[in-house]
Structure formats: C-alpha cells, structure tokens
C-alpha cells in the first residue's frame, strides 16, 4: 500500500510537485502570520505606547516595562501565580500518575473507552466546569453540607471557595486530562512485566511508583509539565470565578489593566514579560527533559 502511494507523485511533473510543496509550506505560514504574529506585533507595538485618560499619548520607550517591573503588586501577583501553578501542578501529578498507570496497565478491556471519556471530559466548556465547581465548593455547597452531615465539621469551611485553595483545586482538575495523556503514552511503552519483576523482588506499591514507574514515565511527565504549566500561568477565567481576592493571578492583573483601567500599554508590557518568563521556563524544562529521555531511552529497546 505504502509503496504505491509513495510512487504516485514521481509520475507527476516536477512543476506541479513544486507548486504543491509551496502550497503546503505557505498555507500554515499565512495562518500563523495573520492570526498569531500579527496580533503579537500589535500587542508589542502597544507596549511602547502611553495610554492615559485622554487616550493614546504616543511613544514612551521602555516606560511601561519600567513601570511593571517596579510595581510591587506585579511581583506579588506573580509570586501568587507561581505558587498556585506549582501546587496545582503537584496535585495534578499526584492524581495523573496513578490514573495513567491504571489506564496503561490495569483496565485492559475498557482502556480505549476510558481514555475517550477522559478526552471528552476535557472538552467540556470551561465555564460550565468552573460553575460546577462553585456548586461543589460553595459555603452551602455539596462538600460543606456533606461534611456537616457527617459531623466532621461544625460550620461550613468558608475558605473552600474564593481562595487560593479553590483555584488550585479547580485548575488541577481542569488540566488533569492533558497531564494524564502524555504520562499514559510514556507508560504504554513500559513492559508491564517490569512492574511485576519489581513486585516479585519485594517492592510494595509505593516503591514500585518511586523506583520504576516515575523514572520510566519521566519523558511523559516532562511533556505534561510543559503542556500544563504555561496555561496554568496565564489562567484568568478560573481565578476570576473562584479565586476571590486571594486567588488573584497574573492573568487577572493583565485583564484588569487592559479592560478595567484601559491601560493597554502596561497590560501589553506585562503580557510580554510573562511570555519571556515562559520561554525561559520551557528552555529549562527542555534541558531537563533531555536528561530524562536519555535515561529512559531504552524502555522499548529490549
């Protein structure tokens, strides 16, 4: 089959082929230019403009960047964002690893169906999902009333909603599918007898995770980190809806600058600073990821 398909274009004329190659290369480039580079350029341009109550006030050089970098609130919010993203990431991994390993090794018969369910859950409208969490976490929500009914608490835990905790819970649930799938893919390449061997040699469940599963899933974990950490950093819908004042993240700060204060210049500068931080982060992750891949390069080369 393959050979037949591969040979077909050879028969065609060279100019036709060249035209097709140009079309293949240019169409995504055009899409990227129009929908990605274009808006970025506009944003970049605006980050050098002065916006006041009177309107756009012309070129100001690096004033906006200076203002952002010397703004203590920016650093405070950035720190909050960093802690929320990191804690959410850890919580997510704690759930994603067992979930991925159960999917990869345990369920067998319904593996594909469960995987599709996971993807489907991820496709649910984020707004609906966040509101569902508000019902669960609210002062008179399902969790509080259940705990009260069981007699575990005397009065509702107010900090469940509109807090950092709420943002961590909701965001870690939100990206669970995206974190699980690359880890699942990495574990799928691991021979299940590896885990049996560890068990046979005297390793209990925890040791099997620590010594075998996590090191062998490392490439998947790194992919999950990169896929999830950046959207976590720029998250603004979830903190806006469940974060309250203490769960205020950098995305909300940018939104506030642009939509509420109308200071497009400072907002754009913040966006670019966040982008630079992200690039640095991905660079670090990429280096670490290469180490991880080297270690586990032989997973499938038995």
């Amino acid at each position: 089959m393959h050979e037949v398909l591969d040979e077909e274009p050879v028969v065609r004329s060279r100019s036709h082929q060249r035209g097709r190659i140009i079309a293949y290369v240019t169409s995504p480039t055009v899409v990227l230019l129009v929908f990605f580079v274009g808006p970025m350029a506009v944003l970049g341009y605006m980050s050098f403009l002065k916006f006041g109550i009177a309107g756009v006030g012309g070129y100001t050089g690096f004033d906006n960047y200076h203002e952002v970098l010397t703004d203590p609130t920016f650093w405070e919010v950035l720190w909050t964002t960093f802690t929320i993203a990191t804690v959410a990431m850890i919580v997510m991994l704690v759930f994603a690893l067992p979930l991925a390993s159960v999917l990869a090794f345990k369920v067998k018969r319904y593996e594909l169906q469960l995987l599709l369910l996971l993807v489907l859950a991820d496709q649910l409208n984020p707004l609906i999902r966040v509101y569902a969490w508000r019902i669960l976490l609210g002062k008179n929500g399902i969790i509080n009333t259940t705990l009260e009914f069981l007699g575990l608490i005397n009065q509702p835990i107010a900090s469940l909603l509109f807090s950092k905790t709420a943002v961590v819970i909701v965001t870690s649930a939100e990206y669970l599918a995206i974190a699980t799938i690359p880890i699942y893919a990495a574990l799928k390449a691991v021979d299940p007898s590896m885990l049996e061997a560890a068990n046979d040699l005297g390793a209990g469940t925890f040791t099997r995770y620590r010594k075998i599963l996590v090191p062998l899933a490392a490439p998947g974990i790194f992919v999950a980190l990169i896929l999830v950490y950046i959207p976590l950093f720029t998250e603004f819908l979830t903190p806006a809806l469940v974060g309250g004042t203490s769960g205020f993240m950098i995305g909300n700060y940018i939104e506030q600058q642009i939509l509420k204060t109308g200071n497009w210049g400072v907002g754009s500068a913040m966006s670019f600073l966040l982008l630079i931080f992200s690039v640095v982060f991905v660079g670090i992750m990429y280096r670490l990821g290469r180490i991880g891949r080297l270690q586990t390069a032989t997973t499938s080369s038995q």
């Binding site: 007898s193 061997a197 068990n199």
Partner: protein, 399 residues
C-alpha cells in the same frame, strides 16, 4: 514502619532456607489447586504436586496447558480459585507477591532499563533493607555465579540477550529465595546459546542448592535439566515422574506423543502373559510389547509406542520377530542417522531411524519392505486416538 517489619520477616525466612539443611518438608506443596478465568475457562484443573528442597522441577506442556498459570500462582501474581499452596512451610494462597520467599525469572528478562546491572541486581536485597555492605557482597557473589562480574556498571541495553538472561537470573538469586521460578527463560535465545545455558542453569542450581521450578514447552530442555517433570495438558498433570520414566514409560498417550519422537500405532490387545502383551494392529499385523502402562486389558483397545530408533528396517519379511509391511516414502539424511517416513498398507505413517551405514539402496523404495520391533522396545498404552496414528513431529516439531 511495616516495611521494616516485612523486611525483617523476609530476612528470617531466607536464613531458615539454608540449602545445607535437608529435611522432608517440601519447598512447595500444591494441593488440589484449580484456577478459573471467568466462568468457562479452566486454566488449571485440580492439580497436586510437591517440589523437594534443592529439586529441579519442570512443568512441561504445549502452550495453553496451564503451566505458566501454575507458575504465576506460585509467584503470587494469580490467586487459585480453589486449593492450597504452601511455600517453604508458609501458607501462600493469599500471601502478597512481595512477601513471598520465591523469585521469578521472566521470559523477557524484565530488567529495569534505567538502572545499571549493579542497581538491577541490588534491587531485591535493598528492598529487604540489608546493610549496604551485605548488598554489595551479594551482588558481587551472584554476578560471579553467573560469570558476569565485570558488567556491574553497564546498562541492560549494552548487554547481549544471553548476558541479559544471566543478569535476570542473578537478580532473582540475589534475594536468596527458597524457590526460584523460571518462566521459559531460554525461549528468546538461539539454539547454541540455549544449550550452553541449560548446563549453566543446572550448574548454578547445584551450587546454590535451592529448588528450581522451570516452565518450558521444550521437552529436550526439560529432559536435560530436571530431576522430575510434570507433563501438563489442558490444565491437568498427565504424568509426573523422573525424565527416564516420562520418556520410557509414559502413563498417557499425550505424554507418549509429546515427549520425544514416537510412533503411536493403534490396535487391540489379544494376549496377556507374564512375558508381555500381544497387540493386533489395525492393519492386521501382530506385535509384542514387553512393558505396558496401567489399564491394558485383553480385548481392549491399545496403542503401541515405538521410538523411531527402535524400529528395524527389514528388506525380507523376518521369520523370528513380528513385523509390519510398509512402503518407504521419504528419506532424510541426518549424518550418523537417516530418517525414513514409511506408510502401512492402511496409509498410516511410521517414522524410523536407520544407522547411515545400514541404509538400503534405492530399490527399497519401489517395493514393500518390513519394519520390526523387538518386544522389549515396544510399549503399550491403553486406548487410542480415533484410530489414527499420531507421530511425534505433529505434536512437537522441535524434537
């Protein structure tokens, strides 16, 4: 710290299983064990056996006979549906895998790719929380035993298949189990290496003096290494005995066909005397068998088992020994022997081996010749298989 307690228990057990101390309690006792998967599949059907301390015990059978399931029940990866398993004096039906005094050598080795050979082999002893020095000493000792002392710092991917297989063996032995379980460990090696490893395995087993339970579908492997063999078929043990017994005096037609090459000739028992049985074969010829399995009665159906090397090719009908008229169909020269396929008047196939220097000339192919067998080499089994002759190579092509 339950982990610490577990570790201590395991250490104690290991010390109890000192190979020099010999007593009558078996290393493994399997009593009326049955394993079902779902409602209809019976993988293992009511089997019982014991494995002695420092015995080399093989579970032999075709794929799907239940041998691997039996081994996995011993290792703890499967729980018996019914029956009792005692390992090293400890009831093992519900004992978790990591607390058993057994270790398994996996068919595909299952070495940890992200660890060096040293780390792989040390994995078991480290789980027991042994002091670092003790761990080092054990790793050195077992790597010495499998003759790979210089490979400690390498990674599994840097080793050949045969070397990886030795590391897998060393890793399992480093835990000093009471019983070593081996799941077709030589299956992935080429023939030459496999033969070498058979001797190596036997040597190591003698050196460490613990019980080996060895699962294989290769009857040659089982015959070479085992003290006793359990031949399994369809979840049952067909025959349990020493290699000579299983080979020479099989209890069932299945065993006769599975172990070695054999001609299985169906017939009816006509006479029964102290000197042996007279069996009338379906083509009318009468052969004598000195020995027979239990259950052979006059008038009942029976099958004669004759090894290809015990059949003699006669160009003229012999007067003194019973013989079968056949036509030669095919000749394969095999060095010191030549192998002939012949057909009886009824069309049943017979395989015989003739020493190369006694080969008949080409003219023997054009006419009827005779094959004879002395009574001492013919062995009678009760019953037959649909009246059809089953030759060994149809069952085990590896012979």
């Amino acid at each position: 710290m339950t982990d610490m307690e577990e570790a201590q228990v395991r250490v104690d057990q290991t010390q109890d299983a000192d190979p020099i101390v010999r007593d009558d309690t078996p290393a493994i006792l399997v009593e009326r064990v049955t394993k079902r998967f779902g409602e209809e599949t019976v993988a293992v059907n009511d089997i019982s056996f014991t494995v002695g301390k420092s015995e080399f015990f093989s579970l032999l059978g075709p794929s799907g006979c239940g041998k691997t399931t039996t081994l996995r029940m011993l290792a703890g990866f499967e729980t018996p549906t019914a029956g009792r398993i005692v390992i090293d004096g400890q009831d093992a039906v519900t004992l978790p895998v990591h607390k058993r005094n057994t270790n398994l050598v996996f068919q595909n080795y299952a070495l940890f790719p992200h660890m060096t050979i040293q780390q792989n082999v040390a994995f078991g002893p480290e789980r027991k929380r042994l002091p670092r020095k003790e761990v080092q000493a054990r790793v050195a000792e077992v790597l010495e035993a499998v003759r790979l002392p210089d490979y400690a710092s390498r990674y599994p991917r840097e080793l050949s298949g045969g070397q990886q297989q030795r590391v897998a063996l060393a890793r399992a032995l480093a835990n000093r189990p009471a019983v070593l379980l081996l799941d077709e460990p030589l299956g992935a090696l080429d023939l030459k290496l496999r033969e070498n490893m058979q001797f190596e395995l036997k040597r190591i087993q003698r050196e460490v003096g613990i019980s080996f339970v060895y699962v294989t579908h290769d009857q040659g492997e089982a015959l070479t290494m085992s003290d006793r063999i359990a031949v399994m078929n369809k979840g049952k043990i067909e025959h349990l005995g020493a290699p000579e017994e299983v080979y020479l005096r099989p209890k069932s037609l299945f065993t006769a066909g599975f172990i070695g090459q054999a001609n299985l000739l169906p017939g009816t028992i006509e006479t029964q005397e102290s000197s042996g049985l007279g069996v009338r074969l379906s083509d009318g010829s009468l052969l004598r068998a000195e020995t027979s399995a239990e259950g052979c009665e006059v008038g009942e159906k029976a099958t004669l088992m004759i090894r290809p090397e015990h059949l003699r090719l006669e160009l003229e009908q012999p007067g003194d020994v019973p013989s079968i008229p056949v036509r030669l169909k095919d000749e394969t020269f095999q060095g010191s022997w030549a192998r002939y396929a012949a057909e009886t008047r009824e069309g049943a196939r017979i395989v015989l081996l003739v020493p190369s220097d006694a080969r008949p000339d080409a003219g023997a192919f054009d006419r009827e010749v005779w094959v004879s067998c002395s009574a001492e080499h013919a062995y009678a089994l009760p019953g037959d298989e649909d009246g059809d002759v089953v030759t060994a190579e149809e069952l085990s092509p590896s012979a």
